[in-house]
């Protein structure tokens, strides 16, 4: 199962061949995630502080789930940065999905900078309890 969650895309690919892509990756934040699975599906929680609902993008392209968001802060005018742990204003991270997941029924919610995605498994691959009739 674990290989289905390996990452692809902008953050991890293009290390040395494309300097521009590298710079892009460097200026992109990788949101920290928790991913767990139960019988009915997979849940992904991502920390994306500073991202509002209208600046969040969740896309599925073929087998790749892409989560992106832009940080918007209320910055006063003429502000000089004194110290910065966070040095980029864009989050981006992608995940490879596997075939048993039902990408048409992904449920997404964003609250206080935490994105929560629920990716159900297809009906036919969900474990079914087989009732044993007394006979």
């Amino acid at each position: 199962m674990s290989e289905t969650k390996s990452e692809t895309g902008a953050v991890t690919t293009s290390q040395s061949t494309q300097p521009r892509a590298t710079a892009e990756a460097m200026n992109t934040l990788r949101p920290r995630v928790n991913i767990f699975e139960d019988a009915e599906g997979i849940t992904l929680e991502a920390d994306m502080p500073g991202v509002s609902k209208d600046r969040l993008q969740v896309q599925v392209d073929k087998d790749t789930l892409l989560v992106e968001g832009d940080v918007q802060l209320a910055l006063p005018e003429a502000m000089e940065a004194v110290y910065a742990d966070v040095r980029a204003t864009r989050y981006s991270r992608s995940f490879a999905l596997s075939g048993e997941l039902d990408v048409d029924h992904i449920d997404a919610s964003l609250k206080d900078g935490v994105l929560r995605l629920r990716i159900p498994k297809r009906e036919e691959v969900r474990p079914r309890k087989i009732e044993i009739r007394a006979g």
């Binding site: 199962m1 710079a23 920290r32 139960d38 994306m48 209320a74 910065a84 040095r87 900078g113």
Partner: protein, 147 residues
């Protein structure tokens, strides 16, 4: 705004410049030297600090918190932000990644001395805590009119 601290060009020299900047941030002379209470990079929550002639703005990137349970205090030019982040861990599931911070946290940020601890405003939006502290009126730059 904080973009000025990062490189936007893609060439190798910018890469070196960025590394140099990082080193300078860690060891070299800056506007504010690294405080004795400053935390290691990667500590939760990440913090950005900006300064204006009117005051200092502190941004704590702390998503998924109940702002009512945050403890924000200023004492002797030290801003303390403390709280606890409960990350629910459902039982009976299989975990593949567990990167999100969970548990109690505390960050102490050294402030310049000319701030007025009475004039503080804190706001929690989209998981970012923004604390704005004004400078004392006497230390703000004043425009002198020529008659």
């Amino acid at each position: 705004m904080f973009g000025r601290l990062m490189n936007l060009e893609g060439d190798l020299f910018d890469e070196f410049r960025r590394m140099q900047e990082e080193l300078e941030t860690a060891f070299g002379p800056r506007a504010w030297p690294a405080g004795i209470r400053s935390a290691v990079r990667g500590t939760f929550p990440p913090v950005n600090v900006g300064a204006t002639p009117q005051g200092v703005d502190v941004y704590c990137f702390a998503p998924g918190l109940d702002p009512a349970k945050l403890d924000i205090a200023i004492q002797q030019n030290l801003l303390t932000v403390a709280g606890e982040r409960p990350v629910e861990m459902p039982e009976g599931v299989e975990y593949f990644r567990q990167e999100r911070f969970s548990g109690p946290f505390k960050r102490v940020i050294a402030l310049p001395e000319d701030l007025d601890p009475e004039k503080v405003e804190a706001r929690y939006t989209d998981g970012v805590l923004h604390v704005a502290i004004q400078r004392r009126a006497t230390t703000q730059p004043r425009r002198i009119e020529i008659k």
